[in-house]
Each structure stands twice: as structure tokens, then as C-alpha cells.
Amino acid sequence: MDDSRTARLVETVLRCYPARWRRRHGDEAAELAALLIRDGTPAGSIAWSYLAGAAREWLTPRLGRRLSTMTCALLVAAGSLGASAGLLASAAPARAASTSQVRTSTSPVRASTSQASARAHCPPSASEPNADVLPAMGHPRVIIGEAGHGRSC
């Protein structure tokens, strides 16, 4: 491997370290690598050593990093909770709206007829999905579609 490629390899690997580490050791580490390569140490083993060192540097827990990790975890948790709540809040009115649309477009008689005919050729199942219930929230039963029974035979 020629000198320029070796230097580029070491530079690339040194960029894997945290900025704080690079500010403190970066120049010296590059010089040390050059000296070791001059002494006959394979560039690949130096790069590998720095790569392993960079991984250790990122994975070693420090107080500041631990706090920032906790902050990130809390933000992610709060964000996902907020998103879930938002989805639930937006889903309930939409379902209610779709129910009322079906009811207005289909007369009660036709609806019950089509439902009955749909069930007639399809045997009832104990495990019929009750997708229109939100049991966890304790919501009342919301009928999604009356034209079919929501399951393929």
C-alpha cells in the first residue's frame, strides 16, 4: 500500500473517534501511525487497532454520555407516546364518520339483508375477528362496515 493510501486509511479510521478524542489525540495519533508504519508495522493492523479503539471510545459509558443517552431515550419514549395518543385520537372520529356514512347510504332493511346473505354462505366462526372493538380502551363497539362482515370465507 503506498504512503498516500495508507495515510488516507488512517485518517478515515481516526474520523471514527468522537470529536473530543480527535481534538485531544488526533494529530499525535496520525503521527504515531506514520512512525509505526515507517518501522514496519502493517498499516492494516494499525487501522484495525484504531478502529477497535474508536468502538471502545463510543461504547465506554461516561457520565455526560450516559445523561445524554438517557435524555434521548426519554425523548424517544415521550415522542412515541405522543404519536400513539395522536393516532388513537384521530382514529376514533374517522371510524365514527365511516360508520355514519354507511348507515346513511344503506337502508336498514338492505343492510340487514346483505349482512344476512353474506353470513348465509359462510359458517359462523368462534374466532371471528372483532376488529371493530377497541377493548384496551374500553370503547363501545363501533361497526365499521355493514355491507360485508369483514372477513373472507
Binding site: W21, H25, D27, E28, A29, E31, L32, A33, L35, L36, T41, S45, I46, W48, S49, Y50, L51, A52, G53, A54, R56, E57
Partner: protein
């Protein structure tokens, strides 16, 4: 792990790894920078420390207060062993000596 003041007498180096012990031994006779440390350690123990391992160990030892960085000479930072570092090294070497003596004695008793 916080700074070690060297007063407890416990072997703080038991958990820091071989590289850290070798660095302290190398620094025991005077300050050295990274390249000189690698050369010296290779000479005294036939162990070639990788540069990544070296800097990791130097940072750990400095955090523990066992070594300190001296003002940079060009781009190189020399490191010096501190008084707690010397005490920790002494305690560790004493502990190794005790273990080594016990091991030799048992080998004798076992007739191996």
C-alpha cells in the same frame, strides 16, 4: 470509576488490564509520549501495543488520576506517572509477587 487517591491500599490495577499496567511500568522511570511508550513496552515485555489500545489505556489511567499529561512537545503529549499511580503500581506488583510466590510453592508441593 473516579480518581484513585492511593490511600486505600487496594489493588486498583487488577481490573484495568495488562496494557495499563505495562504503561505504568514504562512510565515509572520517567515521562514518555505514545511512540516511546510503544517502543519501551515492546522492549521490556515483548508486547506490541496497538495505538488504539494505547490511547484507550492512557485515557483510562488519566481519568483514574494515575498518570498526567504534560504540556505538548510539538504534537506529542508526554505522560508522567503520578504519586497515586506509583502507589497503585507498587500495590499491584506486590499482589502479583504474592500470587506468583503462592503459585511456585504449590507447584513445588504438587511435585509437578
Amino acid at each position: 470509576m473516579g480518581r484513585w487517591d492511593g490511600r486505600s491500599g487496594q489493588d486498583v490495577l487488577r481490573r484495568v488490564g495488562e496494557a495499563s499496567v505495562l504503561i505504568l511500568i514504562s512510565l515509572a522511570d520517567g515521562p514518555k509520549h505514545g511512540y516511546a511508550l510503544i517502543q519501551d513496552i515492546k522492549e521490556l515485555s515483548d508486547v506490541q501495543l496497538g495505538p488504539g489500545t494505547l490511547y484507550g489505556a492512557l485515557d483510562r489511567l488519566e481519568r483514574l488520576g494515575l498518570i498526567e499529561s504534560l504540556p505538548a512537545d510539538d504534537r506529542r503529549h508526554p505522560y508522567r506517572i503520578t504519586a497515586p499511580g506509583a502507589a497503585a503500581l507498587r500495590a499491584h506488583l506486590d499482589s502479583l509477587e504474592r500470587v506468583s510466590a503462592a503459585g511456585r510453592l504449590r507447584l513445588q508441593l504438587g511435585g509437578i
